[in-house]
Symmetry: C2
Subunit: 193 residues, 2 copies
């Protein structure tokens, strides 16, 4: 892996994380807290039926408009059993991907900062949902997931207890975990012109 | 578009939604509410640094294990300004995509059920986040989005008021809107063996 090559020539690289840059970024934000105000965006276009496509490219951060190095496109749809054509995962499955990816990215950063080298991180995130909610068939059943379960498998050069502490800290600092467990106010406006 | 061809030969097709199948599915779930219990999943693997990849394929629903027609893979990463390598969107951007896609799929289904033909649906979903939260620099700032804004543009063969009502109903029945605004309990377990 590239990381292994880099790490042999760069003491600050660990888990593919440049810890020197990570700590420098923390110091920069401490000195100028406004730099940490970000806005992320997704633009979505309806294709047909339950199929739509989002484009993710621009965002705002560190005081200016920025773009990702690539323009990312993602399709979402419903499977045939939910009267769609399966052109992509369902929207609720992307929520599970977001949670897994957020906990994993945090884990790698925190491990790097603590001097722990990870060798493997895998996770399965499951969400249970009763579609009697969104189908409007039972007013006592919510629309969204009733619960979400994350099973993480973490290996690295530290005792099990230290690896578990990485997960605890990643959970404590995860943006998506906070969004999903605590909720976020959402404002919707509609233009029909 | 395929939908246009289909719709000329099939009275039940509207907006690419097979309303006959949609109503039949509703009737089937009314008769057997257990069929509506689904479990969705994402499997994630850490690649390097803040880069990970999720695989979405299997799910449970209508009483049995099922698979999507394809195996979907999604990368997530942080951009360089957040000490990553920009191999994919950030995890929090996938949350915005999920919300846009969920509201849009619901809109198309509800419009089809109400006999309204849509011609265009576009949306931009934005989320404001202050990274002083996840960086641990300010205990008063949350880790996740502080707020999310959805701007929808909807066109179709109905008066503006009817189009707005579609959005209201989609919001009222959206799984991802419920997840994000009301929160979901998340249980995390860790295996280090």
């Amino acid at each position: 892996m590239t990381a292994t090559v880099n790490e042999s020539i760069n003491e600050s690289m660990r888990n593919g994380v440049d810890t020197a840059t990570l700590f420098a970024t923390l110091d920069a934000v401490k000195a100028a807290p406004e730099a940490a105000k970000f806005q992320f965006r997704a633009d979505n276009e309806w294709i047909n039926g339950t199929h739509s496509r989002s484009t993710i490219h621009g965002f705002h951060g560190v005081g200016q408009e920025r773009t990702h190095e690539h323009t990312f496109h993602f399709d979402a749809d419903h499977p045939a059993v939910l009267v769609g054509r399966d052109n992509g995962p369902t929207p609720v499955e992307f929520v599970l991907h977001a949670l897994a990816a957020c906990l994993t990215a945090g884990l790698a950063n925190i491990a790097a900062a603590r001097g722990i080298r990870l060798t493997e991180v895998r996770s399965t995130v499951s969400g249970d949902i009763d579609l009697n909610g969104i189908l409007g068939l039972d007013p006592d059943i919510r629309n969204g997931y009733q619960n979400i379960t994350v099973r993480l498998m973490v290996k690295g050069d530290a005792p099990a207890e230290k690896l578990r502490e990485l997960v605890e800290q990643s959970q404590a600092r995860s943006a998506v975990y906070d969004i999903i467990t605590n909720g976020v106010p959402v404002a919707i406006s509609v233009d029909t012109a």
